[in-house]
């Protein structure tokens, strides 16, 4: 596998959210707004890239590897928790409103299954550079997935997309044209489950259609 494939596999083939269904809690809770999804994506990108890099460095040195092996999960958790604390402090200092709206889900990045999962499945057995690239790809795939969900929810729920106070995209005229008001249930918790279910079903349908086409092409040959 070359590095380009390694980077892009996180987007489609092994997307952490849509294919492996990991990291559900934040992706249901904070996708009420596109700006939250961007903030969460940046935080996960930072933590996942560096945690993969650090853990891979630890596991690639023979001395540290033997030292760490019996207690590797606690060591991973400490590495991840330290990185999350850095994110938490930076966000509190410079992005107060984002810090408030993400709330408890910033410290909870520690127990996000994607990060621990990549540490155990990839970073502990690969070279540092490959691991960092894998982390970046996976984090961008996750960001891409929560962006889709939050776009869906914010447009249906409030009729416009606001990013840091500016109306970036106002689609209110479509709702006016159809003579309906925005469906505010999509901003509520119920909407999170519904939107995720429909998006996931769409992804599954597209994938299985692709598989069938491939199988048919294989049979024709």
């Amino acid at each position: 596998m070359n590095q380009k494939e390694n980077f892009f596999k996180g987007f489609v083939k092994e997307n952490p959210l849509f294919v492996s269904v990991l990291g559900m809690c934040p992706s249901l809770a904070i996708t009420t707004k596109v700006e939250n999804a961007i903030g969460m994506g940046v935080a996960v990108f930072f933590v996942l890239t560096l945690s993969n890099l650090v853990i891979s460095l630890i596991m690639n040195s023979k001395f540290l590897r033997d030292l760490v092996k019996p207690v590797r999960i606690p060591v991973y958790i400490i590495v991840i928790a330290s990185l999350v604390t850095i994110v938490e402090m930076v966000m509190h200092a410079y992005f107060e409103s984002l810090y408030k709206s993400l709330g408890v889900f910033i410290p909870l990045i520690v127990v996000n299954c994607i990060i621990l999962g990549r540490a155990e499945a990839f970073a502990s057995e690969n070279k540092p550079l490959d691991s960092a690239i894998d982390g970046m790809g996976m984090a961008l795939g996750f960001t891409f997935a929560i962006l889709i969900i939050s776009l869906f929810r914010e447009i249906l729920g409030s009729g416009m997309i606001t990013i840091w106070g500016d109306a970036a995209l106002d689609l209110g005229f479509i709702f006016e044209f159809l003579r309906i008001s925005p469906i505010d249930i999509f901003i509520k918790p119920v909407g999170a489950f519904l939107s995720f279910a429909f998006i996931l079903a769409t992804v599954v349908a597209i994938r299985s259609a692709g598989d069938r086409r491939k199988a048919k092409a294989g049979a024709d040959k």
Binding site: M24, L28, P74, I78, V190, A197, V204
Partner: protein, 191 residues
């Protein structure tokens, strides 16, 4: 006293941990195929959430706050929880092998259950007193058990229902969760 009752009711039903706070979704979808395993997981979570909330509350208010190390909260809490789960496991193995056998496979999974760390942090963020912490932790976990149980019952039936192919598995489970979330949020009118 009435404040405590209200807090308990909110934690139990209206602000249910799974359906409105989205914590503990992984065990909710993963371990809810059978009623017996739902109850097993629920009891293990109740046990760990209750003890870890009390320990982290004391740790935060008497150690981290006095030493002005509150920014170490996340690291300290996750270490406490991981150690606690391990200790509970060893303790149960020695004292009550039957309970250990029943909870056995669920205990290690709890360290990465975001409900445990989530409740510990929510107790600090909401400035709960020690009594409020105990009540909140207990009723949040009872709410977790209730929803897991209801969901497992529905899911046992769901296995025999005709579901569109794309919706099989997780998507249909999420739709059921959405319907449950509507029902639970309507209880807010009582208060």
């Amino acid at each position: 006293m009435s404040d405590l009752v209200q807090l308990a009711f909110m934690a139990f039903i209206v602000e249910n941990i799974i359906l409105t706070k989205f914590l503990g979704i992984c065990p909710f979808l993963g371990v809810s195929r059978k009623r017996s395993s739902a109850i097993g997981m629920g009891l293990a979570v109740l046990f760990v959430i209750l003890i870890s909330s009390m320990v982290t509350w004391v740790l935060y208010n008497y150690v981290l706050a006095t030493l002005e190390l509150t920014y170490m909260r996340t690291i300290a809490f996750i270490l406490v929880i991981a150690a606690l789960v391990q200790m509970v496991e060893i303790f149960l193995k020695k004292v009550s092998p039957a309970l250990y056998k029943a909870l056995g496979i669920y205990l290690p999974l709890i360290t990465t259950n975001c409900a445990v760390l989530g409740v510990a942090i929510l107790n600090i963020n909401n400035n709960h007193s020690f009594v409020e912490t105990v009540v909140y932790a207990t009723f949040i976990s009872l709410g977790f058990i209730l929803v897991m149980y209801i969901f497992a019952m529905i899911r046992e039936k769901l296995d025999f229902s005709p579901v569109p192919r794309a919706f099989k598995g997780t998507p249909i489970a999420l739709i059921v969760a959405a319907i449950l979330a509507i029902i639970f949020s309507r209880f807010g009118g009582i208060i």
